[in-house]
């Protein structure tokens, strides 16, 4: 028989705990998720109200600006849509690269006209190619409602240039007239109201909800505007405009003398034109919320909102032209190369509002873990307190508390939680609502712990060593803290660990039904809540798979740890 070293119980517990492989696995799993949810949010900050509608339901990818090898160094014309790019090579072949949602899949198979192409334009859902002899080819979303591909037959053979917006297209024919097709709702708001009849349009621009036209004599007229601020082009620059570009709520223009002017909703970083480019600009491009200009020394500059690194312009000296769309920037160099910056893709895809699932996943992890932990703390405090009272004093107190406990534990959890959440959630605001959820979960879940603590204390009170301690005249406080508490604590810790997993699952369930934490604050539950829908389940797996996997990983890890703790602390199971 081996002689066993006499160890303190704590040491034994720790040793037992680390002996099991599954427990170690659980620890590693839990702490890596915890660390990831704590650290990653610092590097990927999240704007709660920042929706990028141009990028909704994008599948996971990093290839949004990866020009295919066949076209590299060989691109003549280039334009970008949201998530994808279109390029025409010197041998007149159309290449499409990048990521599009399932609705716009036909975008990836462009037509190959055998006429020389003079221009391409990429919109959100469709793209256009114009040939030198005036034909327009449209391809993209085939939803019949939007009629994006129905080029009016009358203009074929006469088109000078064409531009694709979100769900509409505008084409300019040789006679100087504008033609539109696409979604009726967008077309209804397009108007040439301010443009004189004898104007001589030469340049068309469109963003996803804006469109404008520049005439040969340097005037800009707005066809479609999101806000009143951009509809009125400053009078003093009319007649001098050499190039313009439209962002969501702003318009940028380059004047004949190289000055850059931006107008639109004020107080936006887009309005802060960087110093040192005035007088040097040649042409301008606009994304959703930023501008990029090409300067006369062949360098480029970007400014505006730097979401997805949109404005991290590289230092180049030999740029020829810039192409900007959505979150992407391309600059063509003299040697035929293309430099890109901005959004390369979403590693975990995006949700229905165009929010990055990767970022939200870790922020959600932070909230989910926090809610679970605080709920467990609340239930721990109540359970320990009431269990302690009940076990220690016994008698009438015990009787009353036990009946109270029975009443609470016989309430079905979900219905009551729903009602409480529904009634009081709106009274507390965003953060308060979350705190309330934690408190509700704690308030309804304490009876298990309370029973456990009570039983432990009752057992400990009867135990011979406590009797011995009493007989030796040890002070009551010391008996409680050094003889009774350790027993209670180890059992309570096991139970609370397992309760952490349960609380997180409960939070998830509540949020899934829509009565937990409400959007836009992410939790794993409300990230899942949009997904009991056949389209999402079938085609947009990234929207539910990632939160589901993280949730289950954390829950399994916590349960493994809890099990390990139980086996380690419960002397009855040791060595079996």
């Amino acid at each position: 028989m081996n002689e066993e070293l006499v160890q303190s119980p704590v040491k034994t517990i720790i040793k037992e705990f680390f002996r099991r492989k599954l427990t170690i696995l659980g620890l590693v799993g839990f702490f890596s998720m915890l660390l990831a949810s704590t650290i990653i949010p610092f590097f990927f900050p999240m704007e709660l109200h920042d929706f990028d509608i141009g990028q909704f339901n994008q599948p996971p990818s990093m290839n949004m600006m990866r020009i295919p090898r066949a076209a590299r160094g060989n691109i003549r014309l280039l334009d970008a849509g949201s998530g994808y790019g279109v390029g025409v090579s010197f041998d007149n072949e159309i290449h499409v690269w990048g990521t599009v949602g399932s609705h716009a899949r036909p975008l990836l198979s462009p037509p190959q006209p055998n006429r020389p192409i003079s221009g391409v334009s990429a919109g959100d859902y469709h793209a256009l190619a114009v040939t030198e002899d005036g034909y327009v080819y449209a391809w993209g979303d085939q939803n019949a409602v939007f009629q994006l591909n129905d080029v009016p037959p009358g203009i074929q053979g006469n088109v000078v240039t064409a531009v694709a917006g979100r769900r509409f297209s505008v084409a300019l024919t040789r006679d100087g007239r504008l033609h539109t097709w696409g979604n009726w709702a967008d077309l209804g708001r397009l108007s040439t109201g301010r443009m004189p009849r004898d104007a001589n349009p030469v340049q068309l621009e469109a963003n996803w909800l804006t469109a404008g036209v520049r005439t040969g004599d340097g005037y800009v007229y707005i066809l479609l505007a999101t806000t009143r601020e951009i509809r009125y082009v400053p009078e003093e620059i009319q007649g001098w405009i050499a190039d313009f570009a439209m962002a969501d709520n702003h318009i940028g223009a380059v004047l004949d003398d190289g000055t850059v002017v931006v107008w639109g909703i004020s107080g936006n970083p887009v309005m802060d034109i960087p110093d040192g480019i005035q007088g040097r600009a040649v042409s301008i491009g606009a994304g959703r919320d930023h501008f990029t200009v090409l300067l006369n020394d062949g360098s480029v500059a970007s400014w505006g909102s730097n979401v997805h690194g949109r404005t991290n312009a590289p230092t180049v000296r030999n740029a020829v032209s810039v192409t900007v769309a959505g979150d992407h920037n391309y600059v063509m160099l003299e040697n035929g190369g293309v430099r890109t910056w901005g959004l390369r893709g979403f590693i975990f895809g995006t949700d229905a509002h165009g929010r990055c699932v990767f970022t939200r996943l870790w922020h959600a992890g932070r909230y989910s873990l926090l809610i679970g932990m605080v709920a467990v703390m609340v239930q721990g405090i109540i359970g320990l307190l009431l269990g302690g009272l009940s076990g220690y004093y016994g008698g009438k107190v015990d009787m009353f508390l036990m009946r109270f406990q029975e009443a609470v534990s016989s309430i079905p959890f979900l219905p009551i939680a729903l009602i409480l959440q529904f009634r009081f959630r709106d009274n507390f605001g965003e953060i308060g609502g979350m705190v309330f959820l934690m408190v509700v979960m704690g308030l309804l879940n304490w009876p298990g712990l309370m029973r456990l603590v009570r039983i432990q204390i009752l057992q400990a009170k009867e135990a011979e060593y406590v009797l011995a301690a009493k007989a030796l005249g040890v002070k009551q406080a010391k008996i409680i803290f050094s003889h009774i508490m350790p027993n209670v604590a180890s059992a309570a810790i096991v139970l609370l660990t397992l309760a952490l997993a349960t609380s997180m699952l409960t939070e998830t369930t509540l949020s899934f039904i829509g009565f937990g934490v409400s959007e836009p604050t992410p939790t794993w539950g409300n990230m899942l809540s949009g997904s009991n829908n056949s389209v999402v389940l079938r085609d947009q797996w990234w929207r539910w798979a990632f939160p589901a996997v993280s949730l289950v990983t954390v829950a399994i890890s916590i349960n493994l740890i809890g099990d390990g703790l139980r086996e380690a602390t419960d002397p009855r199971t040791q060595g079996r």
Partner: protein, 305 residues
């Protein structure tokens, strides 16, 4: 009473907008007063509560704001659905967990036991609704065997025929599977540990020492002792399953109490909510009562005089 403090004016809810718009303000005022009078909304909350208890005792739960039916009619068929499903799943859960739990207790530390433990651990870590979603993906999308959502086909076969039952069962399969799954994990672990505790009792050693057949020892002596904690948990399970099935009903758009509750909350349908609470209280009460009765049956030591 909690519901009375909810946002939303019951009178406004009771009178549909289109009805209001057709009336002059004077008529509207009269009508509102009439409703206030008939519904007793002008009284003190306590008085209202007493009226509610009194009419409830007579079986009158009021009128659903949503359908204008009496609450009982409104709730009847979903309640039947939920009860059918939950009773079904109860039977399945116990038919599976008791043998598995007992067997795994007997084979402690062996392959079967470890598999059951790891399996139930994973089960404990997946919320029911998520399991439901996984089931949908597996059995309705990848292998389209069962329908995704809903209660019955758009054109159901005649009621009462064999085909009708088949149709109902097909739509019930996935939600039922999810509810059963939800119950399995925790139950297996509990039965296993109750059985282990029972097997460690002194009386088992005595029985073995007497030379009783191992089967008799396990099924007569040990299992009877394990039954008491199992029954306690059963009662809790019975209460919990009605709450827990809500999330799954919502996942599968199954017309049960969960859906009714959600609708009632969203429409602030107070009388339905009150009736639902009575229903859940009744479930809890029945569960606890059944528990006491079964205790007496199982454990001859317990007597309620």
């Amino acid at each position: 009473m909690l519901f009375r403090t909810m946002p939303g004016d019951p009178i406004e809810l009771y009178l549909p907008l289109e009805m209001q718009s057709g009336l002059s303000p004077e008529q509207l005022r009269l009508m509102k007063n009439e409703i206030i009078e008939t519904m007793g909304l002008d009284r003190n909350h306590f008085v209202q509560y007493f009226y509610w208890v009194a009419s409830m005792a007579r079986g009158d739960f009021g009128i659903s704001m949503e359908t204008r039916q009496s609450v009982l009619d409104h709730v009847r068929s979903p309640m039947a659905n939920t009860i059918t499903m939950n009773v079904f799943s109860m039977f399945l859960v116990f038919a599976i967990t008791i043998p598995v739990g007992v067997y795994s207790a007997l084979r402690r530390g062996r392959l079967f036991d470890n598999t059951a433990l790891v399996g139930s651990m994973i089960g404990l870590s997946i919320p029911g609704f998520l399991f439901g979603l996984i089931m949908i993906v597996l059995f309705a999308i990848i292998f389209p065997v069962f329908p995704m959502f809903g209660m019955a086909s758009i054109m159901p076969p005649d009621e009462g025929t064999l085909a009708w039952y088949q149709d109902r069962l097909r739509y019930m399969a996935l939600p039922l599977l999810s509810i059963v799954f939800m119950g399995l994990a925790g139950m297996i672990r509990f039965i296993r540990s109750a059985m282990i505790d029972a097997l460690n009792m002194d009386c088992i050693r005595t029985a073995r020492a007497k030379g009783l057949a191992e089967k008799t020892v396990i099924y007569v002596h040990a299992f009877r002792n394990a039954l008491i904690p199992i029954i306690t948990v059963m009662a809790g399970f019975f209460i919990g399953i009605f709450g827990g099935s809500m999330a799954i009903e919502i996942t599968f758009s199954w017309q049960g109490m969960g859906q009714i509750m959600l609708n009632a909350l969203n429409l602030r349908d107070i009388s339905v909510l009150m009736a639902m609470n009575v229903f859940y209280a009744l479930i809890a009460f029945t569960g606890l009562l059944a528990l006491d009765i079964v205790y007496v049956m199982v454990d001859p030591r317990i007597r309620f005089d």
